[in-house]
Amino acid sequence: MTTLGLQRTFRVLYWANVWLMTVGCSLVVADEPVEFKNQIAPIFEQHCIRCHSPDHRKGDVSLATLDDLKSNDYVVAGNPDASYLIELVTSQVGEPPAMPKKAPPLSAGEVDLLRRWIRQGTPWPPDVVVKEKAKADSSWWAYQPLNVVRLSESTSPQSPGSESLASTIDNFIRANLAEHQLKPSPPADRQTLIRRLSFDLHGLPPTPEAVDAFVSDPDPQAYEKLVDRMLESPHYGERFARHWLDIAHYADTHGFERDQRRDNAWRYRDYVIRSFNEDKPYDRFLQEQIAGDVLWPDNEVAVIATGFLAAGPWDFVGQVETKSPELRRSARSLDLDDMATQVMTATLAMTVNCARCHDHKLDPISQQEYYQLQAVFAGVKRGDRVVSDAAFRQYEEQKQSLVARRNSLDLEKGRLEGKGLDLADIVGGGNGLGTGTYRHAIDPRDAKVQTQNFGNLDNVVTNRFAQSPFEFVDGVVIPDGEDGKTEIPVSSTGVTIRGLPKTSGNAWDMIRNGPVASQHSPELDGIDFTKDGHSLLGLHANAGITFDLAALRRALELPPNEAGSPVQRTSESAGNRGELSDLEVPDTGGSESAATPLRFTAQLGYFGAVGNYFADAWVFVDGHKVAEYRKLSRADGLQKIDLELPASGRFLTLVSTDGGNGYSMDQIGFGDPQVKLAVQRELAEEARHRLAEIEAQRAGIDKEHEQLGSPPRFYGIVREESIADVQLLTRGDPESPSGEPLAPAALSSLAMLDPDLGTLETDEGERRAALARWTTHPDNPLVRRVIVNRLWLWHFGSGLVDTPSDFGYGGGRPSHPELLDWLADELAKRNWSLKAMHRLIVTSETYKQTSYDGPLSPSEQNNRDVQGSPSYVHANNIDADNRLLWRQNPRRIEAEAIRDSVLFVSGKLNLQRGGPGFEDFSYQEAYAPIYTYITADEPTLWRRSIYRYIVRTTPDQFLTTLDCPDPANLTPKRLTTTTPLQSLSLYNNDFMLRQSRYFAERLRAEAGDDVEAQVRRGFALSFGRQPTAEEVRLATDFVEQHGLFSLCRSLFSSNEFVYVD
């Protein structure tokens, strides 16, 4: 602006001259009225708006509307000479016009039009806003109907077998090569082909046996049959699911700051594997993923498919935790962006997200259309969902019946064995024998069952007893002794306790089976009470809980027919109580014959942090204090409790109070809290017999339980209660909505389809169903172009369009447009079968070409300038990137394929399919959970990488180093890098070394002690071929000096292991 201003005073002197130059030609049409929309707006669009828009405002002026132009005298209605705009766009003193700065000047005719428009008073209809035009419009190649050209070779009558059609591919490729004076490379040998196919279709190397069988197969159809077999293998789905999950940016945690678990996400992953394996028609595959729950609500598979929409990251803190509505709107807006973007890039390779802040600058996608797409998803959010109510009910019924059977067996067994009942388990809703749920809890305010974490409790009423519905728990209380005389009720029968000190009256979290929320540590004196069969009753101050001893006694006592005679008192030291000070010993009543005395044992401790923190703990029986621990701190360690409870005892009460210094850190816990019979009895013969029976039944139930698996829940989308209005957001800012609420719609650039997806009133599900129908409409050319291009990428390492998720102006152009359309057409003809398309592609000669030139002659080797044979050099000069496919592309296998191949070759790959992912990390619950990777060195962690539990914030460093992408991104194509860190990972990583050792063990087992045999087997397993004589010599020497393990380690690190020809 400043510069322009200075120029202005100078240039205006020359104005008259310019006027004379331009006025000559304008006289002819001077009177004709200028039409703004069709004559002036296009000039602004073409030359000005890119830099002078509301978003950019270079020089503080926008040409979107008349306002800026008028306010600064850029245009003075009726007076072109006084209008600065005209000066800017015309040449002054032989210098080029000041504007446009970075583009050719306006033509004389255009300048003249501007002058006339100003002279006529700058008419600008209010509804016309000048916008930057996208580079591409709806005539862009990708949006046109398929153009199916039949080359002459394929028009001749042929049998409809796949072979002849595969040759159609070759005809397209060869026609193009011929135009560039290129020839295809010769076919690769069978050894190369089976390894190529195996990695392509399975992501695994072939076994040496499979290589031998194929190489020596006399059947001329051997290759086609191999392809068929490989497509039928379940490994095919495991391989291609990985590709699709890259596009869906799938992971098993939410991501962002609190990267919490998504334990049910795997069902969608299994859905994808299964869909590929079943060769689900691609249109149906997409329909299910966009709206399977609407289109086929009773089909569980289709419902789970909607996990696609929820596969990406999700910000818990932004959407749920924060109290700020502004932050929530922002997070939600990005959430909807993620869904809309994912669907459109995956299915149509349209980069709609570029239109979030403004109209797409390259492609014909308006900002309004973008928000209309968001409106399709405005009624859904991500969340866990049951697969179907019926399935869930059935699961729950089965589970409950199993649990009930198991519990009754356990109770009986426990009773027979005289085993104690665990009070922590009881707090977790259990029977005292392990049926409780870890970290389930009882609310000290009202005795309700709680499963979530709490912090400071609101609405606390102290000294109010709340009765529990649990059989073994009488109830709970939050105590405050006030003056020490207060009677605090601790039972449903009105028993009270007194003598407790004054407390803060506050309470933290719940009475838990396990540590309380934010507990400093579950460990004390070297015992972690969450591990190794230990248990912990978490009793953060201030809280009290009363157990019903009568009920416990009933569960513990043997029926008379099973009881033998008493054998021993289990209490080693009844005088244990003597260690405690100032006790009121309750009246034991001496009624051993009527009821059985019990024993309470536990390891009490203060589990909060070291420091000036302490609390009190108390034990009462029927309101009488039997143990008291004052100012207990972490430094005091564990306190052993072993108390005999009188036969008459009815209630056992455990209490924690805050020690008078606030309840901070006061994590009192009773470790391994047990109530058992004080006197053990010997078992009668009959009972021993029964015990054996129970064991057998119990094992059967465990097996059934395992088979039942995890609950039929999946991570997908759930309906919002109502559909929030979606408006256009100015510059993408959720705080700047503009215009009316938008109805759902698809994109108008695909002119053969109706973009209308409904109205504002359209039901949530119907919106998605309409989008699914629009996307997979038989007339939609783009959806098929995009998927066949992806298939091509997955078989050649590069697509016919080399930007597989961007078919717009910013992306690549098809190298073979006619082939692309022919393939897209074939897909529909083949009932959208992807396997049919694989077959077409991999049986083509183009696919089967060699990827390299073969050995150079010795003289060529000595000449460092020689880069290959003459024909190869020629081709390389013309098409170094091999876009024309005069050879196959050699490829390095992906991170997951490397890991899987290592396991496959070492013989350790665990082929278990489906189900929850394996976790090669230790998981630590925290505000932001901590995932710490461990070396995968057990069979459960040796599954294929597709079954890995994928953590967003903490990716597996080994795989990341090997180019495994960040699942935050939609990854259409894997990148390959070569770095020293990769070398270090493959050569030194603990997993790699252990696998090398297993590989060596395998070689010894399969090849015996003969070193050459070991070497031969090692090469065959690693590379799918026999070693050359030179390799045998080198490798046997090496093994003899450094051992077989070192050979295996080097084979895993070799180029040949990770490259496919």
Binding site: H249, F256, E257, V317, G318, T322, K323, S324, L327, S330, A331, L334, T351, N353, C354, D363, G455, S805, D806, G810, Y852, D853, Q867, A880, P890, R892, A926, Y927, A928, R952, T953, T954, T961, D963, P965, D966, A968, L970, P972, L975, T977, T978, T979, P980, L981, S983, N988, N989, D990, L993, R997, E1030, L1034, H1042, S1046, L1047, S1050, S1054, N1055, E1056
Partner: protein, 472 residues
């Protein structure tokens, strides 16, 4: 089989065009791969990141009006809702502010040592973030975007400039030994850039294995330096035989070379982390032996050593993941007790950062090393919590500072309102900070681009202006 002596230039030409060629740039330097757009002022960057949200009004941004209004209602109408709370009363700085140095800029008593460096530092008082959530705000400060999946500034810089060092990675991160920052390791990820541009994490607490897999695990049966070496030699022969038939695949050659460079890294990485050759005075300067603040001092000293050896971008974390534990928080997120948490982290940062500036100057490195100190957002001038001892998140204002590498010392840029609530003069997102840093490195931020899913992506998205006022 080629046994010709290997030349890097020849190799790069052979590898050029494919990704294999690009792949090693992060580790190579002899050939000038630097794609500078103009003559750089800074050759390298050390960035200190203070996650959790550092309070501007208790540190750098002096607000006398806030002092005067201490205890009066901040939001009398009750309209505001912060991240976790409604605003409490105005709360003046927990530390006294004083003017320092020739410049007379203000700094609070939280940073007595840093105050002595004030004439080398340039402050941006008007920083803002697009979000008040730790994870997304950390992403934004590091990558320019609130969403995960974008390349961090260090990745962009190495993508643009490669490395100065031929035996160390170009981009190294030193996380806080207490743990990862909010959002985890993708804060220094390469996003959609090729993976070689991701940061290499240096574990300051593991001298034997400062980089993951640098060496085999100790005591692995059958592994010794001798077998390591013999195995690599055998591997090289195997790879050369394999390559004979595949002379055109330059990636194969690159991969052979990568193993040789890995061997070099095995020598250089332990050397750089060995502090025994540093003088007692230096160790004292960084307070290496201090039980609480020594670990950050060690990170800062390592950052200097890395920069000295040509590492292009070093990022040092002063703080870990957020938590609700009722003890000193593991980062700057001071909701309940700012005095306690900023008090702790303040002394940590004060020592390490001041030592770094002083040391760089002594080493003659400050002139071409750009030091940046940032957080992801600021804190509210109003108090939070029952006792009013904490402060809630504030995306509207925070302070960042820069020093060295072409930065004019002793200047301030931009301003917040009179309470320090919102940036009002030159409000600045990370874009301008990033643009300025790239500018000093010789890069035009609008021209450092990478195509991904339809967009030529930039660190600065479609924004960013170089802040001329900060340049020397």
């Amino acid at each position: 089989m080629s046994t010709e002596p290997y030349t890097r230039r020849g190799f790069l030409q052979a590898a050029g065009g494919g990704l294999g060629g690009l792949a090693l740039t992060a580790m190579l330097s002899e050939d000038s791969l630097a794609r500078s757009h103009h003559s750089p002022q800074a050759k390298r960057v050390i960035q200190i990141f203070c996650p959790g949200g550092m309070s501007q009004v208790d540190t750098y941004d002096y607000k006398p009006k806030l002092e005067r209004r201490n205890g009066s209602p901040f939001d009398p109408d009750g309209n505001l809702q912060f991240f976790a709370s409604k605003p409490g009363n105005c709360r003046s700085s927990h530390w006294k502010f004083r003017q320092h140095g020739q410049s007379g800029l203000w700094m609070s008593d939280l940073f007595p040592r840093l105050a002595t460096c004030i004439d080398d530092m340039a402050f941006i008082y008007s920083m803002q973030s697009k979000t008040a959530l730790h994870g997304p705000a950390c992403f934004m400060m590091n990558t320019g975007f609130t969403l995960p999946g974008f390349p961090s500034m260090g990745s962009w810089v190495t993508y643009g400039l490669g490395s100065e060092a031929d035996d160390l990675p170009a981009f190294v991160v030193l996380p806080d030994p207490r743990g990862l920052p909010p959002g985890g390791i993708i804060n220094w990820g390469a996003g959609f850039l090729p993976a070689e541009h991701q940061a290499t994490t240096l574990h300051t607490t593991n001298p034997r294995q400062p980089i993951a897999d640098l060496f085999p695990p100790s005591d692995f049966p059958g592994v010794s330096p001798a077998t390591d070496k013999a195995g690599l030699e055998f591997l090289r022969k195997l790879n050369r035989l394999h390559q004979e038939n595949r002379s055109v695949n330059s990636e194969l050659d690159a991969r052979i070379k990568a193993y040789e460079m890995a061997a070099r890294l095995q020598l250089s990485a332990p050397e750089v982390t060995d502090l025994s050759q540093e003088s007692q005075a230096t160790k004292k300067l960084y307070e290496l032996d201090h039980p609480e603040i020594g670990s950050f001092g060690r990170q800062c000293l390592l950052a200097r050593r890395l920069a000295q050896r040509g590492v292009r971008f070093v990022q040092v974390y002063c703080g870990a993941e957020n938590t609700t534990a009722k003890k000193i928080r593991p980062n700057w997120d001071s909701h309940e007790d700012l005095n306690r948490d900023h008090g702790y982290w303040g002394s940590v940062l004060d020592t390490g950062a001041s030592a770094l500036l002083i040391d760089l100057k002594q080493q003659g490195m400050l002139d071409d090393t750009l030091v940046i100190c940032t957080t992801e957002f600021g804190r509210q001038p109003a108090a939070q919590g029952d006792g009013g001892k904490g402060r809630d998140h504030n995306a509207g204002a925070f302070t960042a500072w820069l020093a060295g590498g072409g930065i004019k010392g002793g200047v301030g840029y931009g301003a917040t309102d009179e309470l320090g609530f919102k940036a009002v003069e030159h409000p600045t997102y990370c874009y301008d900070l990033h643009a300025t840093a790239l500018h000093l490195l010789g890069i035009d931020h609008t021209r450092l681009t990478f195509y991904h899913n339809g967009i030529e992506r930039r660190l600065t998205d479609v924004h960013g202006d170089v802040i001329g006022e900060l340049l020397a």
